[in-house]
Symmetry: C2
Amino acid sequence: MKTFKIPEASIIRLSVYSRYLYQLDQKGVITISSGEIAEGVGVSPAQVRKDLAYFGEFGTRGVGYNVRDLHGHIMKILGLNHKWPIVIVGAGNLGSALTMYKGFLQRGFEIKGIFDSDPEKIGTEVGGYPVQPLENITKVVRDHMVEIGVITVPAPYAQETATMLVEAGVNAILNFAPRVINVPPHIEVRNVDLAVSLEILTFNLVMKRD
Amino acid sequence: MKTFKIPEASIIRLSVYSRYLYQLDQKGVITISSGEIAEGVGVSPAQVRKDLAYFGEFGTRGVGYNVRDLHGHIMKILGLNHKWPIVIVGAGNLGSALTMYKGFLQRGFEIKGIFDSDPEKIGTEVGGYPVQPLENITKVVRDHMVEIGVITVPAPYAQETATMLVEAGVNAILNFAPRVINVPPHIEVRNVDLAVSLEILTFNLVMKRD
DNA sequence: GACTGTGAAGCCATTCACAGCT
DNA sequence: AGCTGTGAATGGCTTCACAGTC
């Protein structure tokens, strides 16, 4: 396969395009141009074409793209043509919210277990899933071939949770704890810090005042 | 102040440095070098120095940086030397989780109101805050000089919510709805799509297989 | 005529390497 | 000697502009 280096920014945009295309498909739109996609998601037409060009030729010159086909192609590129089992560690507010969040299921992510260290929480239900003790992680990960673990524990426990997930056998981690975690190089990690996003806004607001 | 164009990536890193420095300060560390910061957060030493150089000279050649001072400087750069009142629109799972999330408060964000359109939810309490009807947004935003609004409504309502927030008078929006929103150019917007982060992971996992 | 696909150009961010302090 | 601060070089992403196709 063409394992050229693809900008991460392109992947983020592809994910955005896919949602927009799905929306259009639902509305019954059949064909769309790169310019219209660009307009709809706020990027340049050339950018849209370039992002797609990394993966093939999906359009027809003089015409544009078939909405449903292109959506299908992008979903396949993102690996979303099949389900992805995931586990969530940390049954606090954020972990619970993610467990109940419909958006994940819609995109093909299936929660196979939610875990917490707090004995008070274990056994309680979150979004229909029983909160399990950390000891169960390895078994659940193996039984359901889980490749992705989500960390929503408090920052001080982020590292040990990451280590635990790696030992259990996941290949990728989505870390919501505001702390850098160290994992072996073959493990994919993405950090989502909710406060960071707010801080970019405050920075921009402060900058503008001058 | 040198208002040259500063890469957004630098701002994200500054936010990360600030957390790391706070951690070090708590542990009693007095001085640190760019190399040690780099090591701690997973970037290059030159990157750390360059990021800081956009805003001034905070270190001492031959020595390094004073941990507490540098933390203070970065917090000021990010505009976090004072409190930021915010409002949250959408009292679903995510909105509730954010309202109860301690991380925001710790960084100086104070929730001045949470709003929802669902009559069933209005009046109920979320993290000690009563859920209010959308009609109250304008009053709350004006009374508390709120500049930042957070959108956690379902995707189809994202645009109207954004419009409402802008009319109420906010200058910045953090949008968690997986939909592109259109606002006047003077309004700062950041989109956080939780599924996008997972999809970058799945893309990378799929890529690796070949 | 319209729109895609793409090499080339332009632009921006990161890394390098060293001068400048302490 | 050690580490910062920074101009210069590098590398990578985005935009441009046009050839290719329907």
